[in-house]
Subunit: 145 residues, 2 copies
DNA sequence: TATTGTTATACTCTATAACTATA
DNA sequence: TATAGTTATAGAGTATAACAATA
């Protein structure tokens, strides 16, 4: 449990915030599949990890409001990337599952995504990349808190 | 110069992308000054570091298109946070400078920002935070490449 | 002729409020 | 009465295209 009372910590927090905002803007542009928004990609990633989820669960996990998730799920369904089925126990809810097509697309886009990020990462030295690689799962944890 | 051929690297890249997108969405919400968008904040941060810049330079640094920066700078000027002056050598260009008011606001918001991020970071253990702190400047470098 | 910045316009994503159906 | 999801609508932020002024 860090106390964050150091000047270094404040600087780290600033650097983190600034970098996250800029990187997110560039990621939006460099999207691998032109027809998929960053959040749509993120939802597919979540489904790949969690298997299935209800729209409400997805909204909470992605930190968007329920109506936004309704729209995102509808777009993904229209593209054949998810299936919507009735919830077995609660008829108010629905169950979202990714299709085989989504699986294939994720696999394909992983390569493209690496290619783009690699273009940035090769500018780093080995030590910097090692530090970033260690930080990646922690950033993920942070985003989930 | 990493080669990115390991599976671990691909996983790190995925984690990085996903975390950056989610964190950016939450940062947008948790903005400290309600009247300032994330990009406006980022522009002020850039000016604080670089002193002065032309709108074109700012657009390139923030990775937005020139018309977007025109709008952002105009909003910041209307709020009294930047000054726009004619370029001394090239009458097509302008020079953007931050005001004393912007300086004070950045100082103030730094505290608030820490407070919010601290709420997440205290959930990490010391080791995780140490790794994240080391990664922060590298992320910043990445965002600038 | 090329470049800087602006104006006009449209699009994407997300939010809030009001509604429906089920618990 | 509360909860899951949807519909309708609005707003924020950014982009593209066309334009003006200067180099």
């Amino acid at each position: 449990m860090p106390d964050l009372s150091h000047g270094d910590d404040a600087a780290a927090v600033n650097a983190l915030r600034s970098a996250v905002m800029r990187l997110s803007r560039r990621l939006k542009h460099q999207r691998v599949d032109e027809s998929l928004s960053p959040t749509e990609m993120s939802v597919l990633g979540t489904l790949a990890r969690c298997g299935t989820a209800t729209p409400g669960e997805l909204a909470r996990k992605e930190h968007v409001q329920p109506p936004s998730m309704t729209r995102i799920v509808a777009l993904l369904e229209a593209k054949g990337l998810v299936r919507l089925e009735p919830h077995p126990e609660d008829r108010r809810q629905k169950v979202v599952t990714q299709t085989e097509q989504a699986e294939a697309m994720l696999e394909e886009s992983r390569r493209k995504r690496n290619a783009w990020l690699a273009g940035l990462v090769v500018e780093l030295d080995e030590e910097e990349w090692a530090k970033l690689r260690e930080a990646a799962p922690i950033l993920e944890k942070l985003a989930h808190l």
